[in-house]
Structures are given as structure tokens and as C-alpha cells.
Subunit: 377 residues, 4 copies
């Protein structure tokens, strides 16, 4: 049994989610070609690292992430820290020849993401970015449909990622509204990247954008009840063109009143169409132009054993998967990338290209003009 | 242009709805093979008859329905009076050799409905019962699918007709809760007949039932605020067997909290299934067992020009029809029955068979046992 | 009984729809304060005018619309001709002191619409544009909610009007794809105006746009099978800002694969949100931020007697209205505007402002920049 | 840290699901008041037990379940074997003073379930039956609503559990269609118990039934292609009365064409109503009679941190849980029952009462009459 040794950096909620996903991946998918094992855990809060190690049976823990990055026994560095330190850790890991599994967004700027991608490419290491929503059997099935030409030529895409936890004025100023910690792109950076990842996965690269950004409540009170100016967008949206000529509209909003996890898309092609909503993550709605005219309509397809990965969970169609199952499948993608040479699409190059669109939207919104992604570093 | 002369009996809300439907039918479907024209109107309230005649340009009005029934100039007697006088008028009309268009339910007892059916059969006149929900293009399409074998052998049916206007205790005692006016079957008589009409139209005859009835609020106050005992059921439901061996469940309720016009059904066959809900009357949900296993699911088909009658209204799929449009199509069925010898399925025989099931449920509920419809007169 | 005498110009499908709506309006709403009666009908095809007159009992018919416009006996000129002759007829009618009821779009250019509006304003005549989708009880209810502050401050709008009858390459070149007849704005002119009308009715004026247009199949064959270049857009979409500061996205597409009458919107405010879809025209989905956190969610409200105009049709909640019912309510709005001084919101000024946005999108798409509507004539 | 030592009997798919749930329960809910640890595993297939022990780090494995039942070190016996041996193992475990966690159905007959319940009651041990669907936060929330009187007096229930994997004639004869292994109640035993468990959890006990059973394909081929007579029902359904006077309809079908995991219910009360469908397990639809008449409708409430247990998984409303998460929560209920004296509702008494209704339906269907559950042993 091949064991991939993981050095986890960040012992918070997401670190725990990774640990669970690694163990569950073994149970669901078995031990072939390899299993993931957290061999060491680091956190700036050393006590948290220690507690984590005890809870999950991790042999080594430390307050110094560098000691893990440089540990010759470690195969993969898993980064679940705050966004702003992703680049430093990832670059150090790559320099040490490690594979890297990094939560999204890779970086707060496209330039940093680009550096990370180029370093990884040069070093020839495996990279995976935590675009977990791509890991759903439903999305893999959607991609198969498209690759098999079932939708014909795709010419239009609409996508959103709306939730509404910040629509309430009394929601506090946090690191998310602080440009230093979360970047100048608020909902745009945090959430648009998810819908962009789906757009890129299913339709291809966005190459040109015209966008706008919006702040609903200009000021919020921080934990000490001090009023602070919100430093990044609550809502960002843009029209765009894809490399293949398709038109698109994308939106990301943390003030999307009434929506909770409305990561949705609609894809229109000459032979068919799809729509999807993460609030109903186990359903893909499929329309075929080629159906008999008397019975054309959207069909609600429930996740099924014929869709990639699902049969490892359940034998019958329609048994709901949950968010945590996506992380288990993501762990599977990491294993396959590292141990089977089957690179997962959501690598650093993919993440960088997403970040470049995000930055193009930022420029477009700030300058009030169409921006080509090739303008961005 | 052939004109079918109608003698309308009952100048209330439903009478007006018929008048409008007759005129709109000409506009929508044209003048071939005939048009309907109200030549005389009667109402026990003579003033109402007069007002109606003025408003709709009817030449003759009267307080005495018999004078219309016996008018040699009249081709069709159209009955929109309260239920309890349907039989007397219909039998007189048949005796006078008239065709009869009668609102549902035909009668308050199966025995009366039987007499009406037998008299009409013997006289050879055309009869139509106002089961307007059958007149929807979506139902005609559903029937085509079934007749073409698209669902395979049908083995199960579930149907409801729920609304909730009587769930409120303060809703008054009216003629509907009065057994003399509305019959002993309350929701059962008024509403189950609609879902039974759909079941019979799509699946075939119900031959055996085991049912129960329920009164939610035993007493209600009448218009004079006098407390009266409710004399018929608020909810009736039953399991059953169809002639073809299928099993079924039907429910009718005027206390169906949360439902407004929930005339719904689900039909399961060996090759496919359907579900439908009148609140979304322009949609039929279709499932095919023969679809690729990877993409099985219910398809939401919007009403389309390929469905019977719709193209007379609109050229493109998905333009909503409303309740009043069903009455227009019913008028068309009446015209075709009278002038083109194309008998509409919902005739007195059909209505009688529905009423027989209603009565079987009544007996079953009261005696707590399975009842075969052949036991009923 | 006051009779408003209408001179109908255009005896085609829409003319017939108006005629039916006028008569049904009397039945549904009664005779107070007035009824509409078509006193004369004109069509360039004189035979069509004659046939129409016979069918609907119209006293006078002609091949020359000017004779009707100048008929002193006529109160309202009703224009259902092709779009390109709307301005000429409307301006002549206004010059003759007539009220004008005009199908949408008012004109193929904003400049013409502006002239029509200004002429009508100067003449003090009543004008109504056929934005029938605004006439739904559900929209009137939505507007009440907003005016009553139930959604708080509205800060975001998304709207679409997608159908898909042109996604098929073999759909022919018709007047709709011909810039001379239908204007340079294809889906943009024909369909975006509907979604803009809803946006303006519910949220307020769009003042700035950044848009794009798209042609899916550059060539189509005409009725003679000659290949012709398609001269206007199949899809147009844009991001925008509203006068009140809200952001928006609007889309119109006749190639919206899978959608049939997807005139939809979502409106997000600080206290609530709405979404709506014309395919389910009798439902309004309402979300309230103020609900208990344990039970927040979108509520599906069916059309009800408490919503404007519905009680004239039905007494109980949830009985579906159809497209033709909207035209009946529009006729009611015309009656109220002419006879009761209760001006309907969708007048020539409203239509002009919609057309100005359409033209701003045209300029924006062609020049690749943000355009303010005040730049447009 | 208190450790509850579990002896697992049955090392198949469900055994693995339990093992995963136990570990994940610790991660999700923490270590207070106790954790579950599998200390020994037994399977008639000793190799399977061995493989299981290796994979999940279980110290002891055996082919003889009795050695585990009698192991003084074990606190809880966890039974995931085929149904027909549940009683023997459970009774032995109770005799040995163990707590018992048993998959559903407890037994193939009500008499056996009764014996199990009475033995457990006498011994004073904790029992939990694997009615995992009750463990959803959405169901706990539904129950809270009902207990708080939000629905008023409940008077009607409809519930189904439909899937369709056996609608295909070529689906083989297996242990499920074999009365010896699966009992005389097919879909009735396997699936009706789930919908009954929801009915009992939310509305109360069913006391009287009138039902029917159905076999779609009388013969199926077994693994050796030998044609065998199907020995139990594919579909069972019944009308019923609840202890509180409510009426009900329940259905269970493994031939429910088009349905995949359609464990659904609708509950109608004098003040509100609910409907639910396990295919969309993270949504509860709530209707309140007390809403303003203008805005009455079903509200789609997504699972939220205010609902029991959900906050341990996610901080924001609407993040989907999956099937496996229900098993984690069930493990939590077991821990609370054993270590915190907080008995979970789904104990052996609960399971027995469910089985008694199942048996009443069997008798009712076979004898064609109403059967009171008190008639059943």
C-alpha cells in the first residue's frame, strides 16, 4: 500500500476538513493507487497544531511551517492557511521539491498566482487547488456531455455565486472586508473564482471582460465596535467573451438577498443546454434540442452511478452527496495526480488563469472599460 | 356558417363563463364546422336572466326554464344551475330531443346520473359534462402518450384535488356543507369527480375502492351566524383498483392546507411515468425508463403547438393558457360533438361512471369495507 | 354606459387579440366606467379588414388607415401594424387629437419614440403601449410590495427574456432578421424591451449600460431558399446602473436554448427579494430578510384575490390566468386611462425611455464602451 | 475522554458505513460526552472480518459473533447483518447486558420485534434502530415546529417511499424478493418502515389501516438464470388513521417509475403544513395559514445553523448535507443515548411499533379489510 505523506499547514476548520477527507477517501475509494496520511501538522498557533495532532493521530506537530516544508519525509504540502500567506508557503514548498495542495484562492493577486504556477511548472511538481465544487460527479458528468458534443457548439454562459450573509448591515467588519487580508477583490476574489472555475472547466477560458463592483454598506463595525470602511466589493459582476467566441455573464455576491449557496450556471449550445444550482448539488438539468418537438423540456437528472465517482459512494441513483463528499473526491484527485500521473484539471495553471480573470474584472470595474485578460500580468 | 343554438339555463358566474367561452371559441377556432350562439337564457331569478340577455345580446330570456327546453328552435340545453336540479332539467331536455351540455357533477347520486345517461343513450342525443380540466392540451397530450404505449403498462396512479378554503374554522356554513343542496358527498362529490375524471381519461375505470371521509370542523356558522352541523365531508380519500389491474390512491380535500388548486396526478408504467399539477397547468412532467441510465430523470415539458388545440392559441411553445381557455376548448368539444359527430369522451356515460365511483367511496367509507363499483346502481 | 370608440389599424393576429380582449374586458370587469368598441378597422390588405369586420361585427372597414385616423367619431386609434409604420400612424393620430393604443415596440429608433412621446404630451392625449406583461396581477402585487418598502432599498436586478425558436440553423430569414423591417436591434429591440419594461416598472430607470450583441447563425435562408445575411442580433445582454444606484444585468435572446418564455427577473433589496418567471406567470417568489433565521427561504406565492384585478376573474387563490387574460387587463388599463383619468404607467413616455435604453445598448455594444442613456437623443 | 466500545457484527457495506460514521462523529461533534470505537468485529465470513479489522484498525476480529456478544469489554453490540438474524443476535446481546444498535428493520415479524423490545426494556439497556432518515436536521426542525404548535392540530398526512430499481423486468430475483430472507413484506417491510418512522416521529402512532399489496413482475430470474416466483410485494400502500384522529395515506414501492429516493411527506394542520422529499433532503417546505392572505404560499427553507446538529457541520445556511452525514448524526444519537442518558426516539419500542403497523398492513392487504394495530401481537 503506497502512502503519500502530507504536511498540513493550517490546523483550523479547513485543515480538519482535509484530514477527514483523507481518511474517508480511503474508505470510499480504497487503497489503490495510494492513501493520504498527514505526517506532520503546522500552525502559527502551536497549541492548535498540538491539539490537532492529538485528535487526528498525527505524529509530528510544530509552530514553524518551514520545518515541515523542508522535511525530506514529506511528499505533499497541504496549505489551508489564510490566503495572504499562500504564495510564500507554496513557493517554499515548490523550492523544496514538494507537491502542493493549496486551498483557493491561490493568491490575492494574479502576479503571485503566476509566479506560483511558473515555479511549479519549472519544478515539475504536482499542484492541486481546492476548487472543490468541480469535484462533484454532476460536474464531471456535465463535462462529459459537453466533450461528447451533446450540447453542440456552446455560445452562451450565465453563472452566479450568490449568498447573502453580508446583506445585514450589522454583520461586522472582518478579515473578509479588509483589503490587506482578503485582497481588493472581495466577493470577486472569494466567490467569483468558484463560478469562473466552473466556467473554465465546462466552457473554456474567459478572455475579455466588462465589469462592475459594488459595496452595499460602506461602513461596518469591527469586533471592537469601531466603524471601519469596507475595503472590497460585496458584489461584482461582468459580461465577457470566451476563447471559443461564446458570450457570458458572471456574478459573485455576498449580498445576494435570498440566496444561500447559489453557485449556479446555465450553458446554452446549439444542440442542448444545462442548468445547475449548488443548493441542489445532486441535480443536473439537461435540455436537448434534438428531442421530439412535442416533448422538449429541461430534464432533472439526479446523480447516478454512471456519473464519475458516485458509484464508490452509492449503488442507486439519487442518494444525495453533501459538501464533505466533494472534499473526499478532491482528495481522490490529489491521490491520482501524485500517485497515478493523472493530473487533475484544477492545478496551479488553472488557478492562475482564474485569478487573471478576477484581476481583469478588477481593472475593468475600476477603469470602466473592456479589459482583455492578456493585459494582465 | 352553421349555428348551434343554445338554451342556457342558469345566468350566474358559470353561465357567464360559458357565454364568454362560446364567443371566444369562434375567435380561436374559427367558424368551421359550426359556432355556438346563446339563443335564449333562463334563470329562476328572472331579473338575472334579463340582465344577462342585455349584456350578452341574447334574444330571449325567461324565468321558466321549461319554455326553453321545449323551444323547437333550440339545439342544445346548457345547464349551469345548482347541482340538485341538474337531473330534472337534463331529463326534460332529453325528452324534448335536445342535446345537453351539463356542468359537473351531473347529479348528486349515481342513480340519477345513471338515469340521465340511459335516457340520453336511448334518445341518441349528444351529451357533454363540464369536466373542463380534461380539455387542457397537456391532458390530451398525456393521453396520446399513453395510447401510443410510451408509458408501457400502467400499474399505479396517485391523484389529489386539494384546496384549502375551508381549513379556516370561521369559513361559514353554506350550500356546499348542506347535504340537501350539495349531496352527502362534500369534497368527495365536488372535487373527487375531477381527479376521477382524469384517472378515467388516462388510466381507465376504477372498479373497487376502500375509502374514508373526514370532517375537520363539525360545526360552522351560517350567514345568520347560526351554528349548523356540517353535513358532508371536508376530505375523502381512498385506495382503489382499476379495471386494468393498476392500483390507485385518490384524495379530495377542501381542507388541504397549503394547496390551492392541487389537482395533481402521478402515473407509473413499465416504460415511463407522468406527473402533473393544475397549479402549473401548462407543464407535464415525463419520465422514460428507456432513457440512457446516465440521464434518467423527469422532464418538464411545457405546452407546445404539437399538443392538441394549443396551436389555435399560440405559435410558440410555453405561452401559458389559463382556466378560461379550458372552457373555450370545452366549447370546441361541444361543437365537434354536435356538428361533426366527433363525440367528446366526457359525456353522460363518462359522468355516470365517475359518479358511481364517488358513491362506492361513500358506501366504503360509511361501512368500513372494500366496495366494488358494480355494487352501485 | 359610456362607449369608447376604437379605430383598429392592423387586422392580423394581434388585431384579433385586441378585439377579443375588448369584449372580454366588458365581461370580466363590467361596463363601468366605459366599454371599448371597435367602430372601424383598417388594413393595407383590404380583404383582411373586410373579413375582420364581418367576424367581429365592426361597422366600418377600409384599406386606408388615414380615413380612420381622421374620423371624428373615433376616440382611440389602436395600432397593431408592423413596427416600422407605428410612428407615422401614431403621429397622425395624435395630430388628429386621438388617444393612441400602440403595440410595442413603439418605434424602431429612440428618436422616433421621442417624437411620438413629445407629440402626445403636447396634444394631451392618452397613450398606452402594449407592454402586456406588466398587466399581470402578480406584477402589480410585486410593485405594491416594493412601493410599501417590503424589500427595503433595492440594490440589484437580474432579468432575462430568453426563448429559443431561432437556435435552429434552419429557421428561416424573415422580417425579424431584416434590419429594415425589424430594426438593427433584433432580440434587443423585440425582447429586451419587455424585460426593461419590468425593470423600469419595478426598480426604476436604467441610466448607464455596457453591453454586447451576438449573432449565432450569420446566414439564414429566406422563404425562397435564398441565403441572406442576418441583419440584427440573436442575443443582446448588458450590465447596467439604475437611477437609484442599483446594479443590473439584462439579457434578451431568441437563441436561449431550452427556454421558451423565460421572461424572468430577480430583485434583491436590503429587506427582501423577489424572483419571477413568465413560464410560471401565476407565481411570485418572495424572500424576507426579516423572517426568523430558522425559517428563511423563498416563498412561492400563487396569484390571489388580494392582488390587483385577479378577483374580477376568480374568487380563490391559485386559479391560473393565461396570456390572453393579460391583454384583457391591458384593455382595462386603456379604459381607465381614457375614461377615468387614471393614467396607466406604460404610456409613450415610458415606452420612449425603454427604447432609449435599447438604443444605448446598441451604441454600447457597437462601440465597446459604457454609454449613458442621456447620450441618446 | 470516555470511550464506548462497540462490537460490530457484520463487516459488509453497512458495517463500513458505521465505522466511518463513528470516526467522523468524533471529528464533527468532538469527544464530549464520549466517542465510539469499534473494539471487535465479527462476520460469518471470517476473511471479511479480518480484512475489515485491518482496514479500520480494529483490534479483534472473529467469525463467531457470540464471542463478541459475550466479551465483557464490549459496551454496545452493533448489528449490520441480514435482517433475518437480527433477533437472535439482539436477544443474545441484551441477555449479556449490552446496549444494542441495530439496523432496520429490527426483525421480519412484529412478534420478534416485540420480544426484542420487551427484553431490552426488562434489561434496561439502551437500544437504537437505524432509522437514519430521522437523523436529519431538517426532520428535527420539522418536529420542533410541530411540537411548538406551529402547524396547529395535524389532521392529515401523506407519505411515500418510492424508488424504481425493480421496475425493470430483467432485474434479478435476489434475497430481497425471497420471503425467507427478506420477509413476506417486500417493499412494505424494507421501505414502508422508513416512511412510517417519519409519520410516527412527526404525527404520532398509526392505529388502523386498510391496505393493498402488488407484485409487478410475478417471476424474475435468479443469479443462475433460474426463473423464480417473487415472494413479496413490489408496492404496498394503505390509508390509515392516527392515534390523534388524523387521516393518512402511506406508500412504499420499489417499482415507483421515475422516483429514485422519493421518501416524501406532506403534513396538513389547522395552522400550517409541511412537505418534504428526501431527493432534496436539505429543504423543508413550510406553509403558514397565518400569513397575510396576499402572500400565502409554501416557503422553501434550506437547512440552517438554527436547525439541530447542522451548526456542527457548517456555519452558513444552505450547505448540503448528504446521506453519510445522517449516519454521523445517528452515531451522535447513539453516543448521547449511551453516555448522556438522552434516549433517542428511535429505540426498540419505536421500531416494534413501526413493525406492528407493517404487519397490520400485511393482514389488511391479505384479508381485504381494515385492521387495528392492536390486533397484532
Amino acid at each position: 500500500m503506497t502512502v503519500i505523506k502530507v504536511g498540513l499547514i493550517g490546523a483550523g476548520w479547513m485543515g480538519r476538513a482535509h484530514a477527514a477527507a483523507f481518511e474517508n477517501a480511503t474508505r470510499i475509494f480504497g487503497t489503490d493507487p495510494a492513501i493520504l496520511k498527514i505526517a506532520a501538522v503546522a500552525d502559527v498557533n502551536e497549541a492548535a497544531a498540538k491539539e490537532f495532532a492529538g485528535r487526528f493521530g498525527v505524529e509530528r506537530h510544530t509552530g514553524d511551517w518551514r520545518s515541515i516544508v523542508n522535511d525530506p519525509d514529506i511528499d505533499v504540502i497541504d496549505i489551508t492557511t489564510p490566503n495572504d500567506v499562500h504564495p510564500e508557503i507554496a513557493l517554499a514548498a515548490i523550492a523544496a521539491g514538494k507537491h502542493v495542495y493549496c486551498e483557493k484562492p491561490m493568491a490575492n493577486t494574479a502576479a503571485e498566482a503566476c509566479r506560483m504556477h511558473e515555479a511549479a511548472q519549472k519544478a515539475g511538481v504536482v499542484t492541486v487547488v481546492g476548487f472543490n465544487y468541480l469535484c462533484s460527479p454532476i460536474q464531471a458528468y456535465a463535462r462529459q456531455l459537453i466533450e461528447n458534443g451533446e450540447l453542440g457548439e456552446i455560445f452562451h454562459f450565465r453563472g452566479t455565486f450568490d449568498n447573502d450573509y453580508m446583506v445585514d448591515e450589522s454583520f461586522p467588519f472582518t478579515w473578509r472586508t479588509d483589503a490587506k487580508a482578503a485582497g481588493k477583490a472581495g466577493a470577486l476574489g472569494d466567490m467569483a473564482s468558484h463560478v469562473l472555475s466552473l466556467a473554465h472547466y465546462l466552457v473554456g477560458e474567459v478572455t475579455e471582460v466588462s465589469g462592475a463592483r459594488q459595496v452595499l454598506h460602506a461602513k461596518r463595525r469591527d469586533a471592537k465596535s469601531v466603524e471601519r470602511a469596507v475595503e472590497n466589493d460585496d458584489l461584482a459582476h461582468f459580461i465577457c467573451r470566451f476563447k471559443n467566441g461564446a458570450s457570458g455573464y458572471l456574478e459573485a455576491s455576498r449580498i445576494g438577498t435570498g440566496r444561500k449557496l447559489y453557485l449556479s450556471y446555465e450553458i446554452q449550445g446549439t444542440k442542448g443546454a444545462l442548468f445547475f444550482d449548488q443548493e441542489r448539488m445532486n441535480e443536473l438539468n439537461l435540455y436537448r434540442v434534438t428531442d421530439d418537438p412535442a416533448e422538449r423540456g429541461y430534464k432533472r437528472v439526479l446523480v447516478a452511478p454512471q456519473h464519475p465517482d458516485y458509484a464508490a459512494f452509492f449503488g442507486l441513483q439519487g442518494n444525495p452527496l453533501g459538501y464533505n463528499d466533494l472534499k473526499i473526491i478532491e482528495a481522490r484527485r490529489l491521490i491520482e495526480s501524485v500517485a497515478a500521473g493523472k493530473r487533475w484539471v484544477a492545478d496551479f495553471e488553472f488557478g492562475y488563469i482564474v485569478d487573471r480573470v478576477v484581476e481583469a474584472v478588477l481593472v475593468s470595474a475600476d477603469e470602466g472599460r473592456w479589459v482583455k485578460t492578456e493585459e494582465i500580468a
